[in-house]
């Protein structure tokens, strides 16, 4: 089977000969224009480092207060998690679950998976779950909505400023840092390279045993 000599465009199914790209070059599909690959410098090392940072940042951004307001002498602060709980307490559990998954659960799982995968590749360790982790990470990607949540924070701030004075907390700063890290993470993660390395590791492992 020599199918690896060819490639197909995921959106128009054009049969392609994959180009050998250097760092900094991009390959677009000649028929539909889709960005096919874009090799990154030290993709595994950078993904590993960014995953560790993101994983650490995740906890303060979920647990520390992001914002606080004071109305008639009463003060209230909110965290990512307390927003979910507030919706639950109002019996809006379908919405609460959606917010919980998109802003807490999926980002955590995604960053843990990328930590596990890049860690294994960095230390050249084989693991039979690598393939499953890669597939989960791929499917989760679309459902992580941290940047959207950030816009939600901005709009909420504008609305709240009309009611009462606002205060920002460490949770918000950690959250902004987390968004920057996850954005860098997705742009540095070279899917194609990761799959190639996983296959290599598996072959080496099969030869060794």
């Amino acid at each position: 089977m020599n199918s690896t000599n060819y490639d197909a465009c995921p959106e128009c199914d054009l049969l392609l000969k994959p180009a050998q790209l250097k760092i900094g070059e991009k390959a677009h599909c000649p028929r539909c224009g889709l960005l096919l690959s874009r090799p990154r410098k030290q993709s595994i090392e950078r993904t590993f480092a960014l995953s560790i940072t993101g994983f650490i940042l995740f906890f303060p951004s979920v647990l520390l207060p992001m914002m606080g307001i004071t109305v008639l002498g009463d003060a209230n602060t909110g965290t990512l998690l307390s927003g979910v709980i507030a919706l639950f307490n109002e019996n809006m559990w379908p919405v609460a679950i959606v917010v919980f998954l998109a802003s807490i659960m999926f980002p955590l799982v995604h960053i843990s998976l990328s930590l596990l995968i890049s860690g294994h590749l960095y230390f050249k360790r084989s693991n039979r779950y690598l393939v499953t982790w890669m597939r989960w990470m791929y499917h989760l990607d679309e459902w992580i909505m941290l940047e959207v949540y950030m816009l939600g924070i901005i709009v909420a701030c504008v609305k709240l400023m009309a009611i009462a004075p606002l205060k920002f907390g460490w949770g918000l700063y950690a959250f902004i840092a987390l968004i920057i890290i996850t954005t860098l993470l997705t742009s540095n993660l070279d899917n194609r390279l990761f799959w190639q390395r996983i296959e290599q590791l598996r072959k080496e492992n099969n030869n060794a045993s």
Binding site: D13, V95, V99, V131, W195
Partner: protein
Amino acid sequence: MQAKTNALSQGFIRCHDCGYLVKTGNQSLSCPRCNSHLHARHPHSLQRTSALLFSSFLLYIPANIFPIMTVNQFGAGDPHTIAGGIVELIDSGMIPIGLLVLVASILVPSSKLIGIGLLLLCTHFRWQINARRWTVMYRIIAFVGRWSMLDIFMISILVDLVNFGEVQIIAGPAATAFAAVVILTMFAAENFDPRLLWDNQKNL
């Protein structure tokens, strides 16, 4: 090999999960690299997409007529619909933010519903179109969908923070319907297979 051929017509299937190109005919229906099931095109793409689209159309109505949140102040309730919240923002001079919410909660969902509907009609009736342009439209639809969740996240923040004895913000029934619309249209876009647009073109 011709300059432009479909992988499928040459007997290749691209694995959806890992991108591996597999020569069909060797009877294996799972990807040798990642073990996921192989399909030349997304299975039942049109049926699934239209079912999801139809449900989101139905839910889009309550999402827009019922209040998405209610502001309770000193015993008096003030319900807001999605459109009402935008009008209020613009009235109070917050025009850029008002426009942002207008785009995210009204323009994006409605153009998404129409866009996916058009894509379905196009593939069903095998319209001869500029497939490249339509693929770009699909790509935009798939990309912008998640940004509509903005309103839902904003409500979760407001409900949590504005919770005092005399002043309270409560989420309304439209929030559930709207979140469902966003998620269903995201699934609809995910289930649509843009390669069908190309398959139907007689002369490429």
